[in-house]
Subunit: 237 residues, 2 copies
C-alpha cells in the first residue's frame, strides 16, 4: 500500500500552471516527505465531472485504492501512511498550532485577497471554465459582478498589506514560520502566495517588504526549486 504510486489532482489555469493554494500545500507536503507523485490537471469545470462526482474540490490524491480529498485530510493521511518519512506534524500540538495559523490566515488574509484577485483568477482560467467560474462566484457574491467586486481593489491593497504584518514580523525573527526549517505553516502561506502569483495583475507587496520577500525567495527555492516557474507574475512592485 505505502509503495503504491501517488497521483495528485490539481487545478490548472489556461497557461497550465497549478493555481490552487490548497493544492500547493500538498505539492510541498509531498516534497517534504520525499514522496514522488504524478500530476493530473483539471480545470474548474472538470472537477465536478471527475471522480464520478465524489468530490467537488481539489486537491485529491489517489494512492493505490485510496482516494482522499481536502488538503488537511491528505496531510494527515500522508503522516499516517508514511510514519517513517519526515512528519508534517511532529506532534498533536504542532498540528493544532498550524490549524490555528491556517484559520487566522484564511480569515484575515485570504478573504482580503479574494476582493483583489477574483477577476484576475477568472481571466487566467481556461476559456471554457470562465463562464462557470463567473456564475458560481457571482452567485456566492449575491449577484455582485466580479468587476464590481474588485473595482476599488487598489484602495483596498493597503489593508491587505497590513494584514500580513504578523507574518512579516515573525519572519524578521526566524527564516521560516516553522523556525529554522519550514513546516506546514510555511507550505500553507507559500501556497497562498503561489495562488496570487499565478494570476496577479496588481503587485501584492511593496518593493521594500524585505522580510516577506526574502522568505518567499527561500520558500520558492525549497525542494530543488519546486516553486520556481517562469509563468509566475511578480509579487512585488
Amino acid at each position: 500500500m505505502s509503495g503504491s504510486k501517488i497521483c495528485l489532482y490539481e487545478l490548472a489555469l489556461e497557461n497550465g500552471r497549478s493555481t490552487s493554494p490548497y493544492v500547493w500545500r500538498i505539492r510541498y507536503a509531498l516534497a517534504h516527505k520525499g514522496l514522488p507523485f504524478e500530476s493530473a490537471s483539471l480545470g474548474f469545470t472538470d472537477i465536478p465531472k471527475a471522480f464520478n462526482g465524489q468530490f467537488k474540490t481539489v486537491p485529491v490524491i489517489e494512492h493505490g485504492d485510496e482516494r482522499v480529498c481536502d488538503s488537511w485530510l491528505i496531510a494527515e493521511y500522508l503522516d499516517r501512511v508514511f510514519p517513517n518519512l519526515p512528519p508534517l506534524f511532529a506532534s498533536p500540538t504542532e498540528h493544532a498550532m498550524v490549524q490555528l495559523f491556517d484559520t487566522w490566515f484564511s480569515v484575515e488574509v485570504m478573504r482580503k485577497m479574494f476582493g483583489i484577485y477574483l477577476l484576475d483568477i477568472h481571466n487566467a482560467a481556461r476559456p471554457q471554465d470562465r463562464a462557470y467560474f463567473r456564475q458560481s462566484r457571482e452567485a456566492r457574491l449575491k449577484g455582485v459582478t466580479l468587476e464590481a467586486f474588485t473595482a476599488d481593489r487598489v484602495a483596498r491593497l493597503p489593508a491587505l498589506r497590513d494584514a500580513l504584518a504578523p507574518l512579516r514580523m515573525q519572519l524578521a525573527r526566524t527564516p521560516f514560520l516553522g523556525g529554522s526549517a519550514p513546516n506546514y505553516a510555511d507550505y500553507i502561506a507559500l501556497g497562498v502566495f503561489h495562488w496570487v502569483a499565478s494570476v496577479s495583475t496588481l503587485p501584492l507587496l511593496a518593493r521594500n517588504d524585505d522580510a516577506l520577500l526574502a522568505w518567499l525567495e527561500r520558500g520558492f527555492d525549497l525542494y530543488n526549486g519546486l516553486g520556481r516557474d517562469p509563468r509566475m507574475k511578480s509579487l512585488a512592485e
Copy 2:
C-alpha cells in the same frame, strides 16, 4: 541554582489583583512546570523604582542570583533551567508557531482591546498610579485623552469580537489552542482575557460566544483554579 526559590514581580491594581497579560502568561508557565513561586506586587509607579532602575516592565522573576525581565525571556529561561520539568516549548517549531500566534494576537486583538479598555485600566489602577498612567499613555497617544480615545468604544466592540473569530473557530475543533492540552499559546490568550477581566466595564463577549466561553472556563479551571478570582469582572454580556 535550580533549587532556589522563584519570586515573580507582578503588576497590581487598586483591588490587589494581578492584571498584566504578560505576567499572567508567566503565572501559567510556572504552574505548567509545577514550580512554586512567591509573588511581589508592584503598582505602575513602583516598577521604574524597583530593581535599581534595571527594568521598566513586569514580569520580572528573581531566581537565586538571576533576574530575568520580559515574558518570552522568562519562559525560555524556565525551559532552559528546568529541562526535566514539563516543557513550555517541546520543540523549536512549537516555539516559532507560538511566537507567530503571539504576534498575530498582539497586532489584531490586543491593539483593539486598548482602544476599548484603556480608561478602564486607569480607573482600576491604584490611586497613586493614575496620574502617571494617564500621562504616559496620553503621551503615546500624542495628546489624545484616555476619555477621547475610548469614547466610541461601544461602536468598536463588534470589530474586536470579529478579530477573535480565528480563536473561536479553532476552539470549536480542539479544547485548547495547544490541542487536547493547553500550551503556551493558551497561556498567552488566557492572560489577555485575564487583563480584560481585571478592569472591564464593558463585556467583551456576546452571551452566546459558546466556543470561547467554554474554553475560558476550562482555562480558568487549570492548575486548581489558578485563574479563579471573585474580583474578576464578567467577560460576557
